[in-house]
Symmetry: C2
Subunit: 880 residues, 2 copies
Amino acid sequence: MSKQWVYFFGAGKAEGDKDKKDLLGGKGAGLAEMTNLGIPVPPGFTISTEACNAYFLAGKKYPEGMWDQVIKNLKAVEKIMNKKFGDHKDPLLVSVRSGAKFSMPGMMDTVLNLGLSEASLKGLIDKSGDERFGWDAYRRFITMYGSICKEIDRMKFEHEIDKVKKKLGVKNDIELGAAQMKELCVKFKAIYKKETSEDFPEDPLEQLKGAINAVFASWFGAKATTYRKLNGIPDDLGTAVNVCTMVFGNLGDTSGTGVAFTRDPSTGENKFYGEILVNAQGEDVVAGIRTPMGVSEMAKHFPDAARDLMNIQDKLSKHFRDMLDLEFTIQDKKLWMLQTRVGKRTAAAALKIAIDLVHEKQIDEKTAVSRVEPAQLDQLLHPMIDPKAKVKKIAKGLNASPGAAVGKAVFTSEAAEEWAKRGEKVVLIRLETSPEDIGGMAASQGILTARGGMTSHAAVVARGMGTPCVAGCDALEIDVKKKQLKVKDVLIKEGDFISINGSTGDIILGAAPVIIPELSGDFAEFMAWVDKFRTLGVRTNADTPADALKAREFGAEGIGLCRTEHMFFAPERIKAVREMILSDDVEGRKKALAKILPMQRKDFKELFEAMEGFPVTIRYLDPPLHEFLPHEDKQINELAKEMGVTAAKLKQKISQLHEFNPMLGHRGCRLAITYPEICEMQTQAIIEAACELGKKGKTIKPEIMIPLVATLKEFEYLKAVCVETAEAVMKKAGQTIEYTVGTMIELPRACIVADTIAKEAEFFSFGTNDLTQTVFGLSRDDAGRFLPYYVDKKILPEDPFVSIDQGGVGEFMKLAIAKGRGVRPKMKMGICGEHGGEPESVKFCHRIGLSYVSCSPYRVPIAKLAAAHAALSTGGSTTK
Amino acid sequence: MSKQWVYFFGAGKAEGDKDKKDLLGGKGAGLAEMTNLGIPVPPGFTISTEACNAYFLAGKKYPEGMWDQVIKNLKAVEKIMNKKFGDHKDPLLVSVRSGAKFSMPGMMDTVLNLGLSEASLKGLIDKSGDERFGWDAYRRFITMYGSICKEIDRMKFEHEIDKVKKKLGVKNDIELGAAQMKELCVKFKAIYKKETSEDFPEDPLEQLKGAINAVFASWFGAKATTYRKLNGIPDDLGTAVNVCTMVFGNLGDTSGTGVAFTRDPSTGENKFYGEILVNAQGEDVVAGIRTPMGVSEMAKHFPDAARDLMNIQDKLSKHFRDMLDLEFTIQDKKLWMLQTRVGKRTAAAALKIAIDLVHEKQIDEKTAVSRVEPAQLDQLLHPMIDPKAKVKKIAKGLNASPGAAVGKAVFTSEAAEEWAKRGEKVVLIRLETSPEDIGGMAASQGILTARGGMTSHAAVVARGMGTPCVAGCDALEIDVKKKQLKVKDVLIKEGDFISINGSTGDIILGAAPVIIPELSGDFAEFMAWVDKFRTLGVRTNADTPADALKAREFGAEGIGLCRTEHMFFAPERIKAVREMILSDDVEGRKKALAKILPMQRKDFKELFEAMEGFPVTIRYLDPPLHEFLPHEDKQINELAKEMGVTAAKLKQKISQLHEFNPMLGHRGCRLAITYPEICEMQTQAIIEAACELGKKGKTIKPEIMIPLVATLKEFEYLKAVCVETAEAVMKKAGQTIEYTVGTMIELPRACIVADTIAKEAEFFSFGTNDLTQTVFGLSRDDAGRFLPYYVDKKILPEDPFVSIDQGGVGEFMKLAIAKGRGVRPKMKMGICGEHGGEPESVKFCHRIGLSYVSCSPYRVPIAKLAAAHAALSTGGSTTK
């Protein structure tokens, strides 16, 4: 017997259930589960993801037994429905839909009304008694089959409809009658024949094969591939194919089709939210072409179906203990459920729903924590438009995805991507969006559409991306060709600033002032749970007291990286720094450093005060010295005058300092080894600042961090300088400061000799930016030319500067941890690269046993949540 | 009981022997061995190297028991000599000499005549009956003790001698009488007092302590440290101190002091070679101040001593089975041996002696192979002055160190170092050299001195360094101040070219033409033995047929690295290369590549023919493309015209290609991944060339090597391109070529994922240049600013680009080997960086199990010898 490739559902019993998402996809598992719960689902069957993968592995051939199983299941459906596939009298029609493990809205293609042919159409018309309905169903089927299965440009079909509408002088499809629909079918078939050189298939089994193949093929279609790449979904999951008995929402005013959320997907409010389009098929809803009716109106129009829907949503909500996204169709007043799945939601909604469910005792705190995606949390922390600011609101649309976006207006996805590449912040303005716009949407700060509802493509995708979106604002007159937007008397051209408030739907002229939301209430309650389950420490990267205070607000447990060079760039200090660089001897350098000392001391004092009681890790001067010098003639001349040297001498010094590969040059600890006086000054400033505060009874925990160490000797040499200086300062001050001296691990060599370095270093902090650069031999500044190409060609699964390359860089980290802890078992080890705020990297850091991660202030809650997720899924074995 | 720190020798019995070099140093072990052999050695004792290390570890304090043991051994010497240390009547005097495990000529300090004081001097004069001798001994002692133990400028003493000589109108020290010597002693003591604020010590034990301390201290003196650094001798070996009864070569004409070699150290000829200075102490010989007498003259002057010396040298030669360097003194006609050690020799001598000893059946072939230092072999392979060339010989000196040197004349060591740093080749011209000149000598192509014999400082050190040297050419009138050299009517100024022939002693005006020596005779016989014991393969780096042929002559077993980009730079090709770079699309690039294809095919055909039967590893295009474009305005304008584009467009392209860190940029396999057509063209050229030759019945073994691979996917991607192209070419040609596709391992990531890469790669070749750069995060081009400083401060033991950093880079190599061979057990693995010709690196490659090393043609024999040494010391476990 061959393997089971096909799973049946119908008449109250299904072969699958909600836990078989890997095999049946989200949609298939949901249909099976609903069937098992006794909820009315049109019978059908699901071809498994295994079948999809087997199909591609075999070179696009069905695996053995699959087709036989399809036929067998089709017969079972025919039996329940008492109809025959392709029948001339009462034909069984089916929908064919994709359904992967993860929901990919709008990405996968669907074919409806499959099974229709000249012959069976007659049966459909006879049976429904509605000729227009029959021909409409047929022309929709030809359109979908032609465009999806045969890749005919959909516009070719739409164009014909437009011509007919124009001829009749009508606006909407619904105004076309049976004759026009029939006429369109003839024209569509001609288009089909012209484009494919084949007749439109009469055989319903041939149609079914074509549709199954198209669903499979769509898994590797450009849209789906892009979506997976953006969302980090692996390519080898495959998609299932759901073949389901057709029910019709377009059988007149007693029918309709709709979508619903069991709670508000935007705010999380515990309020059922639904929309239904009367006399429509599913595709009409998603496309956002007409504006649907809400739940209260539906209760009047479809009282029985509405009551059933409320009961079902209640049953499902309790069963799944989560907010659900439902799809349904009412055919002749009878409700059919077509889909249930955990609904996408905004970060605010995710948080509110998780908290409410805990309060309702439906889920526990651990579950609540695991229900919110760390990356999503970012939305909550993003700036919002200052409610007190006087802004010019020019229109209002639907608040489709919350948050504020400010950017320059662009009118095509291509423009959005181009401008963004140049570093511009843009707001993408479209009539409506389609899957082709994914790239441009991802590149934009915000999305604004003139058409479509809360479940339109733009709204769903924007929420998924965490991008603010205002949808369906029909006051907008968009002219893509002229690259402009008119709202009444206001004209906005490409490049003009525009702001949108995705939380209210407001559209604002110009760049509105933005503020940061408060982090109390729900957020605070949730973060308290996060902190309860998390074992990995979370610190912040901060160079200023303001950053440090902000990070403490977000719950940072210390500073993991203070980059002292940022303190050197301040206008009033750069002069002394340059004086130091231009000195030819130790004395000259010391003299210049003496000028910097009091400023550094003040910096550290303020930073220590802001982080009182928490450790503060200070990285010593890191960048090559030429970064502090000007490179343009004019500035060089000015500086020369200021410094009292000739421009020629200054130029010579600058050219002496020029490096072919600054990344691999005279920087990091190499600076302090050649100029130990810099290390002395920095140590003096730190310890003096700590002593001053210590005298006032404050607990200061400085951690001195030496960058770019490759050998034990380098570290020993500089540690000796630090300790000697620190001891002298403390003796003079009569104070004792508990300081430690550790090192960054950011070179491959440091990883492989970590056991020797750990003999002297009191802590390690992984600098995964530089470690990635050296492990790959890849300059971050130069990688732009080929790295996107690498990701496109799947040579790299993703940009290793965004998420830690676990198989390479990660292996080096593990090596260094094992070697370091072999010598110093409880050694404190952290990470201070930008990876420290990226959820997958944070989880990795938890798994490999780091003590803490350090990230930018705004990413502290994200890192904490990722850490909690990691602890909940692996158990908390890490030491803080 | 405390540890034994002191080892006695005397009266036919010694506590040490020749195998205790680690403990007693070379000199101490030699003295002990000679004593045990019954050879007349003045009795004494050796303070061990362990005592030296213990002394430094304890903060310059003698270890417990050491001083007591010194006193005890001193008493034993007194007993044998029947004299008392510091005695007023017949005082025992001693010499105090350093002696490390490895001979460090002129590096360590020696104090003679120790034990003399106002009181004991009387005894010495009474006993010798020679007042001048006594006062001369005393003034020598004050000089040595003052300058060495108290760091008084020796010139202060010499200046007084000069004044006295001037006053008397005499030239040589020997012409000074007792009165002058006495007068000098008074003056010297006054200098001593002025410089140290102490009286010159009367107590001989205080003197002894001072001298022992000075010998210990000299181990970390600047000269010794430099020498160790240049010769790769570790700092923690320590030096022994030899305290030995004084015998006097300056007791008149019946006395003398000399040095000898049991075979000729320059040519290796089996001919005893000795020099003796009558009425002189050891220091006079080494300084090369007077010209000594040879062996035949000595036989007349000192018949008994000469006969004894011949017997002793015969006995020692057979005992040690090697060429020996002897030091002796004749005191009152009686011969005393002061030192025996294996003698330094030129490469030619080393080779000849090793071969002769095999022929004489004194040693076996393995021993012969291990007797020649790989680095030394370099001398034999160096160019020599074309004997047929018409050159202007302007003078002749001693042929002190063989080989030809051509360079610009410099007159100080500082100048030599400065000019060399600028990339100039220099010949250092000095009156005589001293240990202070070590740095300048190392920086020079050749050394020319006006004074001193074959055993003068210049001669000994130059031979050790393998640097050509002509010594003792008294025709030279050197004016250091004017920076010029006059030889009769010829004037050579600083910067003028001069050539020396160290094999003949000729000095030649201008830059003489040089040729390469033939590699037959002794050399061929020796290399045959080397090949017998060696297990590591040795290939060459060669980009041209000429290089390939030269390397085969040297015995290369294939090409380990052919850098194809060198073929791209040729003037007639660069145009097509630039055309390719400037193309905006695949078609344009393919068109340009089609022009390069026939040239590449021709290159490979010639290379394959030159290396027929051996593997040829071809690295695909590696450098960033901007390296092929001009960067100066003028050239850009010219090229733009040539290419038919605007200068602006060309400039834009060049600036697009600019990289911040080219080392880490768009290069290596990244080029071929973004432009697979380059990889296709190169594969086509290789396989077509191989097919053409294959048709003629030739065996061609191309190995395609992909550079800068970091991930398996990169390699897979390009291997697929190579294989597809190669299969198509072979199919078309109807030929089958056995080619392999492998990768360079030159990135840390490749090392750590070597197991995955090895699934597809058929061989590995370590690119240790780039691997060192990325492991250290260190650009070779930029490291010059701080790397010397690092080596100076001992943060790195040596430049990791010269000799493999075994503790870091080497660990990565081991990791990659273990991972690669774990997947592909017999995988061929080589190295093709410049380390492949450096002896210590070659030995390391043998130990870690590489299949072969690849190096420049001239280093092939060196690599082979190093490989044989490694095999002989570890056993040959490597697969070829």
